[in-house]
């Protein structure tokens, strides 16, 4: 079965640079979530989109923005990168039911030097 696809899998950037992470949800899933997992921490919710509209916002810095496109893929844009942004970034997708399970992608490991 098709899973959530994230690209790139690994990314190295320098401080103050920008980065764009991409997420392709499972086909027919219309909701996308972004999570950040720092070293030794549990995943923290950043932001979600339902039917191409922002749905909920968590602990996402103002330097970050995201959107969901007409084909339901989503991009997380990160600007003015800081060392503390180094983390695993997971995307998850779910279907239409209120309690639909979220399925996670393999993650993008971002390292900021």
């Amino acid at each position: 079965a098709a899973g959530v696809i994230q690209s790139p899998r690994h990314l190295i950037k320098e401080k103050r640079e920008t980065a764009t992470l991409k997420c392709y949800p499972i086909p027919r899933h219309d909701t996308v979530y972004w999570y950040q997992q720092g070293p030794g921490q549990d995943p923290q919710f950043l932001i979600s989109f339902y039917e191409k509209m922002q749905s909920d916002k968590g602990s996402i810095p103002d330097r970050f923005s995201a959107q969901q496109f007409s084909d339901y893929h989503s991009e997380l844009n990160m600007s003015s990168l800081e060392l503390g942004d180094s983390a695993l970034y997971f995307c998850a997708s779910s279907g239409r039911l209120p309690q639909e399970t979220q399925y996670f992608g393999p993650g993008t490991r971002l390292l900021v030097l």
């Binding site: 921490q41 549990d42 919710f45 339902y50 749905s55 909920d56 309690q99 979220q102 996670f104």
Partner: protein
């Protein structure tokens, strides 16, 4: 303040025996609970879930129990296999103002199944 807590950072179990992973939550608005398994450098893999209208859900070797009055859930793995060795995350969600439901994760429990 952590709303979902996994108080045991690690657990070791002999192959063939039962593994019991525990999770406590504080937010009474949570109404859907999930367990994920995670290997290093991979995304969380969904294992099993339970709605707050139930107290038990079973899927093969995995059973999740929910005690709403105690705000406690547990994952039982029987029999445990070496391939079950991974970090297990408990997660919870509840009705929010938006249309999508964010997950709140516990800190994870490292399960090691010894051959």
């Amino acid at each position: 303040d952590q709303q979902v807590k996994q108080n045991s950072p690690s657990l070791s179990v002999q192959e063939g025996r039962i593994s019991i992973l525990n999770c406590d939550y504080t937010n009474s608005m949570f109404d859907y609970f999930l367990w994920y398994k995670k290997y290093p450098a991979e995304g969380p893999t969904f294992l099993i879930s339970i709605s707050s209208i139930k107290d038990k859900n079973e899927d093969g070797r995995f059973t999740v129990f929910l005690n709403k009055s105690a705000k406690h859930l547990s994952l039982h793995i029987v029999p445990s296999q070496p391939g079950d060795s991974a970090v297990y995350f408990c997660a919870a969600s509840g009705p929010l103002s938006g249309s999508a439901r964010q997950l709140t994760f516990g800190s994870g429990t490292q399960l090691t199944v010894l051959p």
